[in-house]
């Protein structure tokens, strides 16, 4: 319940945050909404020496029209993303999925950047960004780079972010005319998904992200290939679990998760199939 001691620094800008990260290496962690980090601190599963608060940097909270994409600041709350007219019009899958994260109180504080940088395979946003083929802008001492979602989630709670780097923008392609579906199967409405599916069919190209089907966020690559090749929703869904390593936990064994992945991919492709 009670975190271990740490120091705290409120960063006024991205540069200040990066400088603090550079100075402290992996003894420092960034915090914005804190809804991934503070629960870990309370259970003493994480005990950094310094928290660098980027949640007050107004310049990191935005949803902008970037032409062919939307540019979203990492400290933008889930609430802002879910309620944004721009997101609802241009990337409705993202708005719909964000509206189901946690509960209203969580959505009022938690940020999209925090959720993505945490890299939890059981979280909704990584799967959504995979389906959308989004990219992440990352800044560090050596400058700025843009990383595709497919290259961003590298392991269990591990991303391509180096300890001295910071996620500074999330870019999602505009897909206003794409068909999409978000399927989240859980026991209670506030729960993480037991299995979830984020599906998008844009100009015939399917993107299907899976929630909680492996040790890192995954695509349903076999289903994508089948759907792209003209397979029916049922046939494409039949291979949804190919290449996945679903975990066994209190809510589901691996075989049930594989089954759920098939069911949810079929539902998603049916809804998105038109």
């Amino acid at each position: 319940m009670i975190p271990a001691k740490f120091n705290y620094q409120r960063a006024g800008s991205t540069d200040e945050a990066l400088a603090a990260l550079a100075a402290n290496g992996d003894e420092a962690k960034l915090i914005a909404g804190g809804h991934s980090l503070i629960p870990l601190l309370k259970l003493r599963l994480a005990s950094p020496e310094l928290l660098i608060d980027i949640g007050e940097i107004g310049a990191l909270s935005y949803i902008n029209d970037g032409g062919d994409h939307l540019a979203i600041g990492p400290a933008t709350t889930h609430l802002a993303v879910a309620e944004s007219d721009l997101v609802k019009a241009q990337v409705p899958l993202l708005a719909a999925a964000t509206a189901q994260v946690g509960d209203p109180q969580v959505r009022n504080r938690g940020t999209i950047g925090g959720a993505l940088a945490h890299g939890d395979p059981a979280a909704d946003h990584p799967a959504v960004l995979l389906a959308l083929r989004g990219t992440f802008v990352v800044q560090g001492p050596v400058g700025e780079r843009e990383i595709a979602a497919d290259d961003f989630f590298t392991g269990f709670l591990e991303t391509a972010l180096a300890p001295d780097e910071m996620l500074t923008e999330i870019r999602v392609p505009k897909v206003p005319d794409a068909r999409w579906s978000f399927q989240k199967f859980n026991r209670r409405a506030q729960d993480w998904a037991i299995v979830g599916v984020a599906a998008l069919i844009n100009n015939g190209q399917p993107g299907i992200g899976l929630v909680n089907m492996g040790s890192r966020p995954l695509r349903a690559a076999a289903s994508e290939a089948a759907a792209a090749g003209g397979a029916s929703a049922t046939d494409a869904a039949a291979v949804a679990a190919d290449g996945t390593t679903p975990p066994k936990d209190l809510n589901a064994d691996a075989d049930y998760r594989r089954h759920l992945a098939q069911v949810l991919v079929e539902r998603a492709l049916t809804e998105a199939g038109g």
Binding site: M1, I2, A4, K5, R44, F185, R187, R188, A189, Q190, D191, L250, N251, A252, D253, Y256, H259, L260, V263
Partner: protein, 772 residues
């Protein structure tokens, strides 16, 4: 207008709703220290060493204690041989058992110091289940007992003759899953024994019970130990027991000369507050082709955990056995039980306390008869109900006499409210249409034993008596203060007792204030548990009010120079019957009652002050029929409660608004047990569900609305005719849900599915079936 029977909003609410309540953690005496526990990470291990030196040297740490520091004190009161040390001595027997205590200036420093205590364990073989505990060669957890079977009650008669002769028999292995009361407020205590007298503020259901035992334990008089029952954030039966912190905190306060507080975290609560149910049943039913029940035989195995909570853990299986007959006139029953120790945290009572297990057992057996015969569940029940003319009805296998009931009437009322024929048609249509969700209809016609209890009932559970008390005291302005031994934690007792008194006293409830929970003032009480307060404290209040009015009429008569027998009191005024124009108010009577110059001979000052310790003449037997309709997703196995109808019979209803609240709350807990909740352990008896993330207590988004109805068979055992209703919802609902699930899945070849009925379990049934 009468208050009893009306939907009166609660007097308790304004304080609770505006953040001005005083739960124990809100109380902070000057210089209060914080205490925190070092807890075992093993389920069964020898303690080789405990190194407290680093912790003791940390900033703000005032002391670090182990059991050796309490050598002058004994075990937590229990049965010798299986009692529990306040802190583990040499051996730990469940994950979370306290091994050491840190006392510090505040919680944060205490938490840091807890991390710095180093304990060296030598793991021992773990007894992880009732089966493990009874296996040959299992480690014996309490050597003085010599066996892990702590209590063994075999069948008095195995009624084999009944089963051999029966046209049909069927059997079932059931598990009433382990659940946790999980009140929103965990346990905790503030103790101040820095002076001569000791005071504890504690979240508790039985403050006098705690005071009496704790004072003796500490070696002080009852008069020198004051227990103040703080506002209690839910209890459900888990805050009656002896928890070590309540014994340790005053000792520590006394030793260090400052008040001390223990604030339990939620994960500690899941590990340490006593969880419940976890009964395995092997049951058989004998019947004929018409569905007549000829006999029921059951053996029950109850997990008591590492240190049985004596006597509640040992008493509940008895209640389960007593109530195995349910609503049915069963000619022969054989019930037995074994209570077994395991390396789990102790188990104890939780809403229903032994009766949910009985109800689940008999209602699942009745449903088994339905599965076997194809008869309608309504017909099987109607055929076997105890008829109204048989009451009071004594069950054949125990000294248990049901007071009253009209089970067919209750079931018929439920059928009337739900349009059963249409429901059945809908179910058949959906179950034959693969594009539709499966549908099931489940019944639970249940009876339970409440209003604990007649003389001797609670003494069997370690209490001093089975009465409940109420003191009605008129103030000089005619307003009234009631002090009761009841210890409410959400039931609305203040409002209910005020309603009862108001009707007898002929005044408005706004004139009446109800106090409880301070052992220094008011009468000795037994406490709030076992659905007893409306019936017993209510009757005590009624009787005390009647006595007060009797004297008050004498005062009024004296003031009006009239005959007391001619006086009536209505709407705050005393008058001669038939001449309401000439009256004296309660205010005038109240003042006179304290003013000797205005009193008649024979009455002294303060006579409008009566205390009654009411003893009911028997247990009461609330009953009901619940009907649950579930929809099951054929592809995911997810179960949704589409409809839930509850028809309850609790005798006289004192406040329908509050009664509904009790029923709805209990039913949602019962639905949660049936579909969501389970305390789970890994192979090393490590708890896996020690948070609200993993223990699936549902939210508003996850549960249905309950429709309700009522029938009324009053009880003769108290002056209100009230049977009590606090636990009924949690008792009657799980079998209704499971019976509905089985009904939906019968075509897939099953006749049972264990709780909680998770999507995965259902999927396995659907997946394993051939066709369907």
């Amino acid at each position: 207008m009468p208050f009893v029977g009306e939907r009166i909003v609660r007097k308790e609410d304004p304080v609770l709703m505006t953040g001005r309540a005083e739960f124990y953690d809100d109380i902070r005496p000057e210089a209060c220290m914080a205490m925190a526990f070092v807890r075992s990470t093993y389920a069964h291990a020898k303690i080789l060493s405990i190194d407290t030196s680093e912790a003791a040297a940390m900033p703000g740490v005032l002391a670090v204690y182990t059991i050796d520091d309490f050598a002058d004190y004994g075990m937590v009161p229990g049965v010798p041989g299986m009692d529990r040390p306040m802190l583990a001595r040499d051996i730990v027997r469940f994950v979370g058992e306290s091994v050491a205590i840190v006392v510090a200036e505040d919680n944060y420093l205490a938490a840091d110091a807890v991390e710095a205590v180093v304990v060296d364990y030598e793991p021992l073989e773990v007894v992880n289940s009732v089966a493990d505990a009874m296996a040959d060669g299992a480690p014996v957890l309490h050597e003085a007992i010599g066996s892990n079977v702590l209590l063994d009650t075999p069948w008095a008669d195995d009624i084999e003759a009944v089963f051999s002769a029966a046209p049909r028999t069927a059997s079932l292995k059931l598990w009433n899953n382990r659940v946790h009361p999980a009140p929103m407020e965990p346990n905790g205590v503030v103790a101040d024994w820095s002076g001569q007298k000791a005071t504890l503020w504690v979240s508790h259901q039985a403050p006098h019970h705690l005071r009496n035992t704790l004072a003796t334990y500490l070696g002080i008089t009852h008069s020198d130990l004051r227990i103040v029952m703080a506002d209690v954030g839910g209890a459900f039966g888990a805050k009656i027991q002896w928890y070590p912190e309540n014994f340790l905190a005053p000792i520590i306060s006394n030793r260090l000369g400052r008040p001390v507080k223990y604030t339990q975290t939620r994960s500690e609560c899941f590990m340490l507050m006593m969880s419940a149910r976890d009964q395995h049943h092997e049951a058989e039913i004998a019947f004929d082709d018409e569905g007549t029940i000829l006999g029921v035989r059951s053996m029950l195995y109850a997990n008591a955990g590492a240190y049985p909570d004596v006597p509640i853990a040992l008493g509940m299986p008895t209640l389960t056995n007593w109530m195995t007959s349910g609503c049915y006139k069963i000619p022969a029953l054989a019930t037995g039980h074994k209570v077994v120790a395991t390396n789990h945290a102790p188990l104890s009572s939780y809403r229903g306390a032994g009766r949910p297990e009985a109800c689940y057992l008999i209602e699942r057996l009745v449903d088994l008869v339905v599965s076997e015969t194809g008869l309608d569940p309504v017909d099987v029940r109607m055929r076997n109900f105890i008829p109204p003319e048989d009451f009071p009805y004594t069950v054949p296998h125990a000294e248990v006499e049901y007071d009253s009931g009209s089970y067919a009437e209750t079931l018929n009322e439920a059928l009337r409210l739900i349009d059963y024929d249409n429901l059945k048609a809908e179910r058949d249509r959906r179950n034959n249409d693969p594009s539709e969700k499966l549908m099931g209809i489940g019944f639970s016609s249940w009876v339970e034993i409440a209003s604990f209890g007649p003389r001797g009932a609670l003494e069997g559970f370690g209490h001093i008596g089975s009465y409940e008390s109420s003191q009605v005291k008129v103030q000089p302005d005619g307003s009234v203060i009631i002090s009761t031994g009841a210890s409410p934690h959400g039931q609305g007792t203040v409002t209910t007792l005020a309603q009862i008194a108001a009707d007898e006293l002929g005044m408005h409830i706004d004139q009446i204030s109800v106090k409880y929970g301070d052992t220094d003032s008011g009468p000795q009480g037994i406490g709030t548990m076992g659905s007893r307060i409306a019936a017993i404290a209510g009757s005590a209040t009624k009787e005390a009010s009647i006595q007060v009015v009797d004297s008050a009429k004498k005062v009024a008569a004296h003031l009006m120079e009239a005959n007391p027998d001619d006086i009536e009191v209505v709407d705050g005024n005393f008058s001669v019957k038939g001449t309401p124009a000439r009256s004296v108010s309660w205010g005038e009577v109240g003042w006179a009652s304290m003013s000797p110059t205005q009193l008649p001979d024979g009455l002294s000052a303060g006579s409008l002050d009566q205390t009654v310790f009411f003893e009911p003449t028997g247990f009461t037997f609330p009953s009901g029929t619940y009907i649950c309709v579930v929809g099951i997703d054929r592809t995911t196995g997810e179960v949704e409660v589409e409809k839930f109808l509850a028809v309850d019979d609790c005798g006289t209803v004192l406040n329908p608004l509050l009664a509904e609240g009790q029923v709805e709350g209990g039913i949602i807990q019962g639905i949660a047990q049936a579909l969501y909740e389970e305390m789970r352990y890994d192979d090393n008896a490590q708890p896996l569900t020690a948070s609200f993330m993993d223990y699936l207590a549902p939210a508003a988004s996850d549960v249905p609305r309950i429709d309700s109805g009522r029938t009324n068979t009053p009880t003769p055992h108290n002056t209100l005719g009230a049977k009590g209703i606090g636990e009924s919802g949690a008792i009657g609902s799980p079998p209704a849900v499971v019976n509905a699930c089985v009904d939906a899945l019968r075509q897939f070849g099953i006749n049972h599915i264990d709780m909680p009925v998770t999507p995965q379990k259902v999927w396995r049934v659907l997946n394993n079936s051939v066709g369907g």
